[in-house]
């Protein structure tokens, strides 16, 4: 929001000229260079109305090296991966994949919005899979609220109870038999997002 006396200008020295290239390497394709800023992504996006920057603006900022703004933005965390933008884009920009890449970069650098539930859920999900090979929705949600907003847990408990009584909530997490194999596999991947997204 507007603050009295805060300057609204960007000096070239504040930009990261390599940022776009880093993002391109992370995404695995250079399609964001094709963007003509038409806004189709933002208008087809079902959640752009909740973003701090529309996807179009995020692409514009990423291309020009607005490193801090892009990595601190809520926009990628609001993205629900519905792929509408990717499908509708007239220039075939892989926007959803770009959002994934920004999320990974923000996580790697630890600059993702703190206590914001989406990255917390992502982390929790990651750990559950590593532990059991499968995820348990009940635990995911419980952990999520414990780590972000315990009050919401109480609010959500009604649904939880209903799920439990209709047999839709497993209390004991399922675990795969060959978890060692899975862990070996995950360990063997030279990972942490250095790879390339595809769509």
């Amino acid at each position: 929001m507007y603050e009295w006396g805060r300057r609204r200008i960007k000096y070239e020295s504040e930009l990261d000229p390599a940022f776009c290239q880093t993002l391109i390497e992370k995404t695995g394709n250079d399609s964001i260079r094709n963007c003509i800023q038409c806004g189709t992504c933002s208008s087809t996006c079902p959640v752009s109305l909740y973003m701090d920057f529309t996807p179009r603006r995020l692409v514009a900022m990423a291309r020009e090296g607005f490193h801090d703004e892009v990595l601190h933005s809520f926009t990628p965390w609001i993205c629900a991966s519905c792929y509408s933008c990717t499908v509708e884009c007239p220039k075939e920009v892989k926007i959803t994949e770009t959002m994934y890449a920004i999320k990974q970069m923000a996580m790697d650098k630890g600059v993702h919005p703190a206590r914001f539930p989406v990255p917390v859920l992502a982390r929790e999900f990651y750990h559950q899979v590593k532990a059991n090979g499968r995820t348990n929705e009940g635990r995911l949600i419980t952990q999520l609220f414990l780590k972000t907003n315990p009050f919401k847990l109480i609010k959500q408990s009604k649904i939880g109870m209903k799920l439990f009584f209709s047999g839709r909530l497993d209390v004991i997490p399922q675990k795969i038999k060959n978890i060692t194999q899975l862990r070996t596999l995950l360990k063997a991947v030279n990972g942490n997002g250095g790879g390339r997204a595809h769509s």
């Binding site: 609001i78 859920l121 839709r168 390339r196």
Partner: protein, 293 residues
């Protein structure tokens, strides 16, 4: 053809009724299936946000397991994936293994060190694809004993079975589910929100946003006179069904409408019992209205 069934985590939890009804329907239709032994989580959208390469590795293990399990019968291996998110993640992993030489090398190496191997012989199919394109609508008509006459269904496809890839249906206006349910006597709605996002995991993370997305879909289906919404994804079904009370509180407008799996409606038309179809698990009870028989 015996399909290798990949239910995914949600079908063992909140989406149990999808699992139950789909298996019951397939059995009745004579579609043989076998669950992939010791399958793991596909990684979904959450994992992809943390670590892309490992996300692909997760999916690839399932493909490798399926191939190993299905190959001995000498036929091409087809993995049946009812969950939208699993469907897309497996497809994405497959594309990466097929089209990206570097990605393939990385994954193949990792699979090998875990004692796995994937040759790329698996095709990933959605049950709707099987019903329409393998079994055919005539076979479905034949098995219909209680046609869904007069029932107005809003078919809701969700995102990830049509986007970003359109493998078996029109991307903008998919029709497979409509065709299946129409073949079984139902009337389906022409409406523009068939593939609009339900909010995905956001109903959990940012409920104000997630619920609003689901609310828009429910409201529009109701406004257009739907008796029930049919879904093909466990998360869509959960979002659309389970938050209806909360939505009423949040938005001050009742949007009570049953939300079921398309396979549950198929089962009803085929004369299967409510138990077999997991109907008791619904938050908003649904029964085919008498008038529609």
């Amino acid at each position: 053809m015996t399909y290798l069934y990949y239910p995914g985590c949600s079908l063992k939890g909140t989406g149990k009724a999808y699992d139950e009804s789909l298996l019951a329907v397939m059995k009745k239709l004579g579609v043989e299936q076998q669950e992939i032994d010791d399958w793991n989580c596909c990684g979904a959208t959450a994992y992809m946000a943390v670590d892309q390469d490992r996300a692909y590795a997760l999916a690839s293990r399932n493909l490798a397991l399926a191939e190993a399990q299905g190959r001995p019968n000498g036929k091409p291996v087809e993995v049946l994936t009812p969950c939208n998110a699993c469907y897309l993640v497996l497809l994405k992993a497959q594309k990466r293994l097929e089209e990206d030489a570097l990605g393939k090398r990385k994954l193949a190496g990792a699979l090998e060190s875990a004692g796995l191997n994937y040759e790329g012989k698996v095709s990933v199919r959605h049950p709707l694809d099987i019903f329409v394109n393998e079994l055919g609508l005539d076979a479905l008509k034949e098995k219909t004993v209680n046609p869904l006459n007069g029932l107005k269904v809003a078919c809701y496809y969700g995102c990830q079975i049509v986007r970003p890839y359109s493998t078996f249906d029109d991307q903008y206006d998919p029709v497979a589910m409509d065709q299946v349910l129409e073949a079984m006597g139902a009337e389906t709605l022409k409406w523009p929100l068939k593939t609009r996002c339900c909010g995905g995991s956001m109903t959990g993370t940012i409920p104000e946003v997630g619920m609003r997305l689901s609310f828009i879909i429910l409201k529009e289906a109701k406004k257009r006179g739907a008796d029930v919404i049919a879904t093909a994804c466990p998360l869509c079904q959960f979002n659309l069904e389970c938050y209806q009370n909360e939505m009423r509180e949040e938005f001050g407008e009742a949007v009570d409408i049953p939300v079921v799996y398309f396979s549950q409606l198929m089962g009803k038309a085929m004369g299967l019992s409510d138990r077999e179809l997991g109907m008791q698990r619904l938050f908003v009870p649904f029964a085919v209205p008498a008038a529609s028989k």
